[in-house]
């Protein structure tokens, strides 16, 4: 039996985390959660997720991109996705390529898009 892929959600909004968890678990992923950037970085070390979803705006303005930069520096091997609210990407000029992101999901995230993107990227049938 194929081992389930682990996704880590780093977001300070518990409702967003819970909604994402429901979506991902329904598609057969195992979900880990972190409520801020610092917790998120520790969780990456601990659970070594197959993919990470990071909210752009957390306790600090654009702290999500700081987390992504740190993970890129630490040579995190899996794909990283950014969660951004309408307009944040344009306000803070997020460059997905520069941050080493595999993509940006706009909130509210469409479950179909989220699941098909992750499955394709992680090679899950």
């Amino acid at each position: 039996m194929e081992q389930k892929k682990v996704i880590l959600i780093i977001d300070d909004d518990p409702d967003i985390r819970s909604a994402l968890r429901v979506m991902l678990e329904s598609a057969g992923f195992v979900v880990g959660e972190a409520a801020n950037g610092e917790e998120g970085l520790k969780a990456v070390q601990r659970i070594q997720p197959d993919a990470v979803i990071i909210d752009l705006m957390m306790e600090n303005v654009d702290s999500g991109s700081q987390v992504a930069t740190k993970l890129k520096e630490d040579k995190y091997p899996g794909p990283m996705y950014m969660l951004s609210s309408a307009g944040d990407a344009v306000r803070y000029n997020i460059d997905a390529r520069e941050l080493g992101l595999a993509g940006i999901f706009q909130k509210p995230v469409d479950p179909k898009v989220l699941i098909s993107t992750l499955k394709a990227k992680l090679g899950v049938a």
Binding site: D15, I16, A19, V22, A86, G87, R91, K107, P108, D110
Partner: protein, 478 residues
């Protein structure tokens, strides 16, 4: 002792300075367009150089062409040279620092002093010129009125009247010395009708008439200027209030957007989970209700997105933030990031980019948003399996970006309404096309492109498709 005398003289001096340099409210600077003080002084200096030149040309013309033999053209030319020299000194002192952005109070004071000295010497030079050309008979007397008008425009009413009195005294002195023959003026026949010294009655008449003319002109002009200044003060005050209100509105918009986005996203995502049956199967009625709620939330999200972009654009500082960026790679990035959206409607996309790299000077995130708006509109307003072409080409010093689709198109009567604020076109419901929107998107695109020195355009045919595009100036690369 020395100290207290010093203090006393300083206070008299500062009182004098305050008197001459204050405005009606008693504060610096004295001028109507105080921010343009340097420019005004500069203009006057240029005019004075021109006047020196005209005096020389005029006196030579009068002497050798009009044959006015009594004219002392040498004295007039000497006067013109003096005027030229005084003006050159003014210019040399005041204008080297003209281009400095930061101006000290001291520099400002220097300009004001130079302006006062120039006005005072102008009256004096005019009196001498008139003395050389017929004294109280001179047709050039009218120039006194011209100077009275200038001082009344530049200074507060009190100072304008001081200068008017000063000019009038100079004129009176000229009249008296002509009458008493103390320093008889030169009467060049031709320029003046007679060389007979003026009588007492004539002097009194001229003094009264000129006096009335001097003070009436000063009074009328200062009165007019008072209303103009008052109007200007009100405009400045109202502008400040408007700026404050505008800042408040921008701040409020940002806070409101921030506080609306998070809960709306959470609501939408939970509803989606409900609709997908992650919380258990829904019956048809429940599904329809959740779907309708989601549709309305989508409208709200799209409206917030546009408002957010509007707020970002309003706060962007083009001068500070503009950087050079490459357009082709930006478009490739946008397409790459929106593959899912394109695929969701099974559209085919053709990209026609020039081989040569194209650089634009501007705020990349705003231009990105403009292109993205055209692209998402093309995706949205084209039924499934549509064809979209993104085309970039250069023409003269501009680059044109076009997004063409074979979607629902826009009627000719609706085309002029596009790119305006809060415009929603009446559209029929078409299978596979979501026609909801805030009506702000294209307005924002226009604002972005025009703020970058470009223009937007659209060509469309109802039922056949549209081409939305813009032209932007290409950055000149060193």
């Amino acid at each position: 002792m020395t100290n207290s005398t010093g203090k006393y003289s300083q206070s008299i001096l500062s009182k004098l300075i305050r008197f001459f340099l204050r405005d009606e409210e008693g504060s610096f600077p004295v001028f109507l367009h105080s921010l343009r003080l340097e420019d005004q002084l500069y203009d006057f200096t240029i005019v004075r150089f021109l006047v020196s030149f005209l005096i020389v040309v005029g006196s030579l013309f009068a002497k050798y062409v009009l044959k006015i033999y009594e004219l002392n053209h040498k004295a007039l030319i000497l006067l013109a040279i003096l005027l030229f020299l005084v003006n050159t000194v003014n210019f040399a002192i005041a204008f080297p620092a003209r281009k400095k952005k930061e101006k000290s109070k001291k520099y400002h004071l220097l300009l004001v002093v130079i302006l006062h000295l120039s006005i005072a010497t102008d009256f004096l030079f005019l009196t001498i010129a008139i003395w050389l050309i017929g004294g109280v008979y001179s047709p050039f007397q009218t120039f006194f009125i011209f100077h009275v008008i200038i001082t009344s425009i530049l200074f507060s009413p009190l100072i304008a009247f001081v200068y008017t009195a000063y000019g009038y005294l100079l004129f009176l002195a000229l009249a008296i010395v002509s009458w008493q023959q103390w320093i008889p003026p030169i009467y060049p026949i031709g320029a003046v009708p007679s060389n007979v010294p003026p009588t007492g009655t004539y002097i009194i008449t001229v003094a009264v008439v000129q006096g009335l003319l001097f003070f009436l002109t000063a009074s009328l002009t200062t009165h007019l200027m008072y209303f103009l200044r008052e109007g200007q003060r009100q405009i400045v005050r109202i502008n400040k209030d408007l700026e404050r209100l505008c800042d408040q509105r921008k701040g409020f918009l940002q806070i409101a957007l921030h506080n609306l986005r998070a809960p709306i996203s959470a609501i939408a995502m939970h509803l989606q989970n409900l609709l997908y049956g992650y919380g258990g199967e829904l019956n048809e009625t429940q599904q329809s209700w959740v779907q309708r709620s989601l549709t309305r939330i989508d409208e709200l999200v799209s409206f917030l997105h546009d408002l957010e972009n509007l707020s970002v654009m309003e706060n962007a500082d083009l001068l500070r933030e503009a950087k050079e960026f490459e357009l082709n790679s930006l478009i490739e990035k946008i397409l790459e990031e929106n593959q899912d959206l394109i695929a969701s409607k099974k559209h085919t996309i053709k990209v026609d980019l020039p081989e040569k790299k194209i650089y634009i000077l501007g705020i990349q995130r705003l231009i990105r948003e403009a292109i993205l708006n055209f692209l998402t509109n093309a995706i949205k307003y084209t039924p499934q399996n549509g064809k979209i072409i993104v085309r970039v080409f250069t023409h003269s010093s501009y680059v044109r970006v076009e997004v063409e689709d074979n979607g629902i198109g826009i009627s000719q009567e609706d085309i002029p309404k596009l790119f305006k604020e809060f415009v929603r076109l009446k559209q029929q419901k078409i299978e596979g096309v979501d026609t909801t929107g805030s009506g702000l998107g294209l307005y924002i695109v226009r604002q972005v492109i025009e703020s970058h020195g470009g223009r937007v355009f659209v060509r469309s045919q109802l039922g056949k498709g549209s081409i939305f595009g813009f032209d932007l100036p290409i950055a000149r690369r060193k």
